[in-house]
Symmetry: C2
Subunit: 342 residues, 2 copies
C-alpha cells in the first residue's frame, strides 16, 4: 500500500469542524483503495496567537516540510486582524513552499441551484488557475507621511518571466488534459505595465502547447462573462489578484462557496502542497456543528489526485455529486438541516 504523511491544520472556527469530516472520508477511501495515511495535527490558529503571540512556531515550515501534503481548515477569529492571521500562517506557507499554482475547480452540481437562470448542472465545469506567490500581492510598498495631507500609500506589483511562465505552463498542460481551451485574464488596455508583459508570455507559451485553443479577455469583461455565459470556459489562467476575484465569483455562479475547494500546488514537489476549502472560519456559525464539510472534502479529493490517486479522488467527487443529486442530506447553507457529521 502507498503511504502518505498528512499535516492537518484545522485552524479556527468551522475549520476545526470540517477537517475531522474530511479525515473520515480520507480514512474510508484509504480502506477501499488500499492507501495508508498517517496524520499529524497542528494547533496553529488565531487561538494560538492569542495565547502564545504567534500563529505558528518560528520553525513552522520546517515541521511541515517532511509531510506529503497539508490539509488546512480555515484561519480567522474576531479580534485578530486579518493581516496577523493570514501573513502569520497561510501566506508564509504558500510562499515558503513555492505553491505557485492556486487551483480552483468550479462545477454546477445537480441539487445545488446556480443563481443564474440558465446554468444547468453539467453546464459549467471550469478551473481557475491563479498565480499564487507574486504579482499584485507582495511585500514591496508602504506608507509615506502618516496623517499629513500629502500622505500616500504605494504597492508594487511584480511579475517575473519565471513566475508567470511556470504558472502558464501549468495551465496550458491542464487544458491539454481537459477541454483544450484556455482563457487568459488580462487588463492590457489600461495603464498597467505588467499586463502587456503577461500577454506576451501567454502568446509565447501558447506556441509550446499548440493543441490548446486560447484567447484573452480583459478582467472587467471577463467578470461580466462569468455571469452572462459561464459555459464557454474551460481553464482560466489569471494573476494573483485577478484569480482571487474570479475564483470567488465562479464559486458564487456555481451556487455555493461552502462547496468550493482550493489546492495550493508546488508542481515540482520540492515542497508539500496545501489543500483548503475556499470558505473562511465563519465565526457566526462556528461551534454548532452545522458547517458544510463539502469544501474540505473536495479539497481532500484534490489532495488524493495530487498524491497520485486519481481514481480515489474521482470516487470522492462522485460521492459528493451523488449525495447532492440523490439525497436530501445537506447543511443549512444549502437549505437543508443536516449536521457536518451527517
Amino acid at each position: 500500500t502507498s503511504h502518505h504523511r498528512i499535516a492537518l491544520i484545522p485552524g479556527d472556527g468551522i475549520g476545526t469542524e470540517v477537517i475531522p469530516a474530511a479525515r473520515r472520508v480520507l480514512d474510508t477511501v484509504a480502506a477501499r483503495h488500499g492507501l495508508g495515511f498517517s496524520y499529524e495535527t497542528f494547533d496553529w490558529s488565531c487561538e494560538r496567537y492569542v495565547s502564545l503571540g504567534a500563529m505558528m512556531p518560528d520553525d513552522g515550515l520546517d515541521r511541515l516540510r517532511g509531510h506529503d501534503a497539508i490539509l488546512l481548515g480555515a484561519v480567522g477569529y474576531p479580534g485578530v486582524p486579518d493581516h496577523v492571521s493570514l501573513w502569520g500562517l497561510l501566506i508564509p506557507i504558500r510562499r515558503g513552499f513555492q505553491q505557485y499554482v492556486n487551483l480552483r475547480p468550479i462545477r454546477v452540481f445537480e441539487g445545488v441551484p446556480s443563481p443564474l437562470r440558465d446554468a444547468a448542472p453539467g453546464d459549467v465545469d471550469l478551473v481557475v488557475v491563479r498565480e499564487n506567490v507574486e504579482g499584485e500581492y507582495g511585500e514591496i510598498g508602504g506608507r509615506l507621511g502618516r496623517g499629513l495631507p500629502e500622505e500616500m500609500a504605494v504597492q508594487e506589483a511584480v511579475f517575473t518571466r519565471k513566475g508567470v511562465t511556470r504558472v502558464l505552463d501549468y495551465a496550458f498542460s491542464l487544458a491539454e488534459r481537459r477541454g483544450r481551451h484556455l482563457t487568459s485574464a488580462t487588463k492590457s488596455n489600461g495603464i498597467v505595465h505588467t499586463m502587456p508583459f503577461w500577454d506576451e508570455l501567454v502568446a509565447e507559451r501558447a506556441t509550446a502547447h499548440p493543441e490548446v485553443a486560447w484567447d484573452q479577455e480583459h478582467i472587467d469583461a471577463l467578470a461580466a462573462k462569468f455571469v452572462l455565459d459561464p459555459r464557454r470556459f474551460d481553464v482560466v489562467v489569471a494573476s494573483n489578484l485577478f484569480g482571487d476575484i474570479l475564483s470567488d465569483l465562479a464559486a458564487a455562479v456555481a451556487g455555493s462557496i461552502g462547496i468550493a475547494p482550493a489546492a495550493n500546488l508546488n508542481p515540482e514537489r520540492d515542497f508539500p502542497s496545501m489543500f483548503e476549502p475556499v470558505h473562511g472560519s465563519a465565526p457566526d456559525i462556528a461551534g454548532r456543528g452545522i458547517a458544510n464539510p463539502l469544501g474540505a472534502i473536495w479539497s481532500a479529493a484534490m489532495m488524493l489526485d495530487h498524491l497520485g490517486h486519481p481514481e480515489a479522488a474521482a470516487h470522492v467527487t462522485d460521492a459528493i455529486a451523488t449525495v447532492l443529486a440523490k439525497t436530501p442530506v445537506r447543511t443549512p447553507d444549502l437549505g437543508g438541516t443536516a449536521t457536518t457529521a451527517e
Copy 2:
C-alpha cells in the same frame, strides 16, 4: 433658457451611431424643458490616428476646455492597439480634467431579464463610484531585462490621502441623497499596503457623514455577493481597478452592457465632465445601424443631471424604462429587431 455647450466625440465603430441617437433625445428634451444646447463635434478617433498619427491634436484638451460637458461614443478599432486608442484619448481626458469620479448606475429594468434567477425589476438599484485617476492604474512602472530569463515588469499602485478622500466624500454624499448605505470594496486581508490605508480613510470620512450606514467587503467576496445578493447594495465605492471590475460585473447582473452608462465627473466643475456608454466600439456590428443607443442615451441623461437639470434627466430615464417595459422596440442585443434610429 439655460444654454450649454456640448462637445461630441463619437469616436469609432458604433460610437458614431449611438451619439447621433443621444443627440436627438437631447434636442427633444431641450424643446420640452426650455434648454438650449450647441454642439461641437470632434472627429478624434482611431480613424484619425491611422491617417494623422494621433488620436487627437496636441491641444485637444484646450479645445475641450470651454465646453460645459463632453459626450463620448467609444474608441477602438481593429489594428490600433488599445494602449494607443485609450492612452491617446480617453485616459488623458479623464486625468487632465481631474474627472476623479467614475459613476456607474445599475438598475434591473422591466423588460430586460437579468441572468440571475431572483433579480426582479426594481430589486437591483445600485451605483458604483469608482476612483478614476489614481490607484492601481498609473504611469509608474516598466520592464527590466527584455527577453532575459530574469525579465520582470513592475507596476506601482499609488493611493493618496487627497485622491481617496475626495472620491469617498463624493460617495458618502451620494449615499446621503440615495438609500443611505455605502459599501467599500477593499482587500486589506491580502498583502497589499494600499488597502489598509483605504480602509482607514473610509472610517475617517464616515465620521463626517453620520447618517450613512456603511460596511466593507473584500473584493473577492464582494464580487460573489454581486451575484448571490445584489439587492443589498446601494452605493459601492471602489478603487480604480476594483471599480472597473465591479461596474462591468454589475452591468452584466442587470442583464445588459448595452444599456449601461458612465459619467466621468469633475465634481468641482473646474473642468468639463465626460459622459460615455460603458460598451465599446463593437467593430463586429459597426456600420449596420443596429447598435443599442440606450447606453449613450442614459449617459446623456447623466449629463443633464450634472448640468443642473434633474427633471430633464429623470424624463429621459423614465422614457428608457417605459420603452423597455411597455413596447417591443429593442435592438438585437436585447433580442429585438429595432434599428438604432428606431
